[in-house]
Amino acid sequence: MKPSYRLFRKWDIVALVLLLLLPLLLFVGLQGREEADTVLVLYGGEEIERVPLPTDPFEKTYTLSEGSVTVAFDGNGAAIIASTCPRGSCVESGKITQGGSGSYCLPLRFAIVLTGEGGLDGVTG
């Protein structure tokens, strides 16, 4: 039988495809590595607390110089459920569940933001 000296054979092509796919899969996997599992609690733009999403839901009231805000935390998100601000749009905006999204009480300079990317770079409106 005549010996073959081809540089690439069938299994080389298979190995090549696998090697090309591996970094792609790693890249895609790493992109979403920051999960929406923590709530950043902010006051005046400064982080005052990080709250991991809990198994057992609970509520916490934050007393600020401008007033107070109550936040409800549960396993898949958080919501501002009470605020002493007159407008109340933070309470109306409901629960945040997607990574990167936030709920803001601007008169009190208070915000909660869920960690993670959520697929968007920003939201206008």
């Binding site: 890249f27 905006s93 945040i96 803001y104 300079r109 933001v113 409106g125």
Partner: protein, 341 residues
């Protein structure tokens, strides 16, 4: 015979070596291509009465961005007593920075194109409305009429040596401030050689390019939740701003009042729109045009954007969505259909 066998074995080994080497080279090449994609980090800040989020490649720029946001606010907020704008409003002659002069000139030009319905001299009117009050009520008609007169007669007088004096009215850059800040911060990020997103409230700057473009959600004006989106814009190197009647509003004696005022009447504008999103070459321009287009309404609003080479997404009270035809490839609605113009 033996020599031939040794030669074949050596040649086979060389082939195997070359194969492995080629595969490893290709692997490392693909890895390095993906490694080039920047990993972005988010920084939170507060300024201009809004939350700011900076999405950057290198977070060491954070203190500079936060300081620049404070500087922008100190320059143009009429609420900051030491600002140039507050000094103008007190009737002082003020040396204005070139960026503020350019901003006021653009605002004046847009004001003229709207026949005075958009005005940054409308502080006498805006100060009558308190949307943050616990029980807001519309101002008295006589007070509004007086404020409209003061606003209409206002003008900025250039004096010698870069000094300016405000005659009448009062400057309120509430419709411009966040965009003005995104301009300053976007310049800083670009000078640092970074790509990323500067978001001050709903005013957003996309700096540089990202693989696949930056994805900017446009909030659904009919939902109170910030997570419910009208659609998603894909952009690189651009500025976006939205003006909507849903953000600050109250109901009094069965009538709805929102915060976008027609400077000619001093009352919330009724243009048949609930939101206007504008893409423009600068944040301040996007901010001004979104408010001015909201005031003008659908047809005149689109015409105004065309004059500035800007693009827009208009949502009517009936829920219809109209967008500039130039956005047909970069804007996707979450549901329904866009009518392109």
């Amino acid at each position: 015979m033996r020599k031939q066998r040794v030669f074949r074995q050596e040649r086979k080994a060389a082939c195997v070596f070359l194969r492995v080497l080629s595969l490893l080279l290709l692997f490392s090449l693909v890895c390095s291509l993906f490694a080039c994609a920047p990993q972005y980090k988010k920084i939170n800040g507060y300024g201009m009465g809004s939350y700011a989020v900076f999405t950057v490649e290198d977070e060491r720029i954070a203190p500079s961005l936060i300081a620049a946001l404070a500087t922008a606010e100190n320059d143009i907020s009429h609420r900051v007593a030491t600002s140039a704008v507050a000094a103008l409003n007190r009737g002082e002659t003020v040396v204005l920075p070139a960026s503020l002069v350019a901003l006021l000139e653009t605002a004046a030009a847009i004001g003229e194109k709207t026949n005075g319905r958009f005005s940054v001299f409308s502080l006498p009117e805006t100060s009558l409305w308190d949307f943050d009050a616990s029980s807001p009520v519309p101002p008295a008609a006589a007070d509004i009429a007086k404020a409209v007169g003061e606003t209409a007669g206002a003008r900025l007088l250039p004096l010698s040596e870069g000094r300016y004096l405000l005659e009448g009215g009062g400057i309120d850059l509430g419709a411009v401030g966040k965009g003005y800040a995104t301009d300053a911060l976007a310049r800083l990020l670009a000078l640092d050689g970074q790509s990323g997103i500067i978001a001050v409230g709903g005013s957003i700057a996309a700096v540089g390019e990202k693989q696949g473009g930056f994805k900017i959600g446009v909030r659904d004006p009919f939902s109170t939740s910030r997570e419910v989106l009208l659609g998603v814009l894909t952009l690189s190197n651009g500025f976006v701003s939205t003006s909507g009647s849903y953000e600050k509003r109250f109901t009094h004696e069965g009538r709805d009042y929102h915060h976008i005022l027609d400077a000619q009447t001093g009352l919330p504008v009724q243009s048949g729109l609930v939101s206007v999103t504008v893409l423009a070459d600068s944040g301040a321009l996007a901010d001004m045009l979104s408010t001015a287009a909201f005031i003008l309404g659908l047809s005149e609003g689109f015409a105004l954007l065309e004059q500035y080479g800007a693009k827009g997404i208009f949502v009517t009270e009936k829920g219809e969505v109209y967008a500039s035809s130039a956005l047909s490839d970069s804007f996707r609605l979450t549901k329904g259909e866009v009518q392109y113009r």
